[in-house]
Assembly symmetry: none
Homo-oligomer: 215 residues x 4
DNA sequence: CATGAATGAGCATTCATTCAT
DNA sequence: CATGAATGAATGCTCATTCAT
């Protein structure tokens, strides 16, 4: 009864991908609840009822979107984890750069991933939340390792700093507006910012850089 | 027209504030569109219709919430701007600390402020967006000043770094879960992370720690 | 339990009459259903709840209003019926003049009387409808009498003409806008129009007046 | 936005017209505000929500109804204005007859037109009010012309008499109850009544019939 | 595949009325 | 008399989803 989306090779799933793309954009712009099936159908130039040839449920459409992002993020993680011969902080730099690049190349999907995950069914939500925690653990572990070899500041909580790193990465999808050439530059800046932010020798108020003209 | 909220001093508008608090919580948890007036009324133990003694519109309720946050943020900005005798980077540290403290003391209101602002009426939305840009300009200017006196890295875009600073601050409201005693600690960590992240001499990949002037 | 409106003499029922007046105006302007108790209370400068010291029910308020008009109309009818020594058509002229005068002196109450009667409870509605039919019979009878003595056209239905007479009278309350001095003039014009309209020798298409320059 | 009503000719919009007809009847019987969408849906045997396939708004439904009447009235006016070789008073007779016929053939739509116009949006209301004034001017002008050629009484205000003519016409839609064969008769009676009512030599009180030139 | 009428549950909002203070 | 918080039923409207054609 349920509608199968499994295409068997020769029929190109063009329309299908288009539905996902339009949904990603609208969900990002107006939010999942703020987007109606009518909106999506209008954008595709078909009728609301016809949408159900491509999807089974609005919630399932959201799931497929988020599932895609989750898969991509997993890929980055795997790549970064398996890159040979890197010190923890360098591995973190690579991780930040890769993540930001990905965020900037499809900011809408990322925004949906972070903002609308809680609209999924309880079970799917739980699964993804669990995955996200593994993702966090990966970064916290890298920071801890960097703290142990003296590269990262030992005086600040690894967990809190991990959140700061996530913040830096995730937020890019929010303020960035499709300037494709700038992607690399932004990724580098973020990476440098994060690495410097994690580095040893925290600055406290009044503790100015010796390079500064403060007396 | 509209509900007269002008209390004459001695009768505390208890229920009124309660409505705002419940709405803030629910809007933060389920989103503005995901929260129904029924939900809010249920939480308050009154009927849906009775809610309209305290508010005129769901949208206006959101506005009052966001207006409150906007006012608080303005206060922090004014305080930071007028603190005497601080170098730009120190002023930024103060700014981050104050903002994070505020975010952590009422994370729900902050989350609503950043996530639901676009659900406001066009005019109100425009006004707040404009104010937010002034807020951004304040931070970008501080960073530029720090770049000029050599305290902040000149090799990275002030605008992009400003976004990183915002990210660090805003995201705290998202992952923090009401551990009151931890507030100060988190604020300090964030501030240190940001300041280090902005500081001169960005680390590039492979640029290990011993190159830094840390002792 | 129900609220008594019977004032016992010494306390002037000023506020009470004011409520009726305001209600008449608002019901006429916006319709019975288009007027809220809040509207009436606002206009009186009191709170919605306080209104219920003066009335028991919105519907009862309407009833009191309509009851008043009904009483006044009955008075006119009695006066016209008892005026001595008038031919039927002259009696009709008197009737029209008196009715129009009354309509113009309180057009709002009349408008309410004709437009909102069907919003009354079934029983009250039936009673007033019955009274109105007696009123109609009175006019139809006068027209029939005029037809029999040759003063009114025998070629047209007395019942239809009676409706035309009512139309002329009632409609004045709708288009008239409070030009007090004009009342008499309008009443005379209407009366003359009606009497001429009823008179013998109907004009048919092409049957021009001999005074007209038609060839 | 809004519901696409553009039918391409061959498929008759049966249900659509049915909605309009039912709405006209109910609005006439219970008033616009006294009629709920539920009432209309019940009468059509569909669910309340399904109604919104045919209309976009209750107010827009009212507008379409009134727009239709307005169009029909405009047609009558054009026909009457362009009928060749008629004296002013004869043109008025034609006008009254045509209008009454129309009123009696669809009394509900007419009742809605006159009673509920003020429930329309400000802009639509203004437009129709303006059109109605043009309509009034047309009749006043005809009466004035009749006064000048001596066919209509010069002793009574053309404007007031025009209102009396409107009254006679409009009221028919209120008291008439769908006796189809009677339409012509009623239209003739009204027309004759109006023409006689307008004619020269007003009767004053006590001015009995023998003074008139009737044989 | 596509259509579009229909469903049915749900939502924000209104409003006459009550009642403890 | 007056207040104003509360009620509870109803209203116009939305929207994801279904299904016969």
């Amino acid at each position: 009864m349920g509608i199968r989306r499994a295409r068997n090779g020769n029929t190109p799933p063009r329309r299908d991908a288009e539905v996902l793309a339009v949904a990603a954009r609208l969900f990002a712009e107006r939010g999942y609840l703020g987007t109606t099936m009518q909106d999506i159908a209008d954008e595709l130039g078909i009728l609301k009822g016809s949408l159900y040839h491509y999807i089974s449920t609005k919630e399932h459409l959201l799931f497929r979107l988020i599932e895609g992002v989750h898969h991509d993020v997993g890929q980055v993680l795997a790549d970064v984890a398996s890159a040979p011969g890197l010190l923890p902080l360098d591995r973190l730099a690579l991780y930040v750069e890769r993540q930001v690049q990905q965020n900037l190349s499809a900011p809408q999907r990322i925004a949906v991933y972070y903002d609308e995950m809680d609209k999924l069914q309880a079970e799917r939500h739980r699964f993804l939340l669990c995955e996200r925690r593994r993702h966090q653990a990966f970064v916290v572990d890298l920071i801890s390792a960097a703290q142990q070899d003296g590269a990262a500041s030992r005086e600040r909580s690894a967990r809190v700093m991990a959140h700061c790193v996530f913040a830096t990465i995730i937020w890019t999808a929010r303020w960035h507006r499709s300037d494709a050439t700038a992607r690399d530059r932004i990724a580098k800046v973020c990476s440098a910012y994060v690495i410097a932010g994690l580095s040893a020798r925290p600055r406290s108020l009044g503790d100015t850089d010796e390079a500064s003209p403060a007396g």
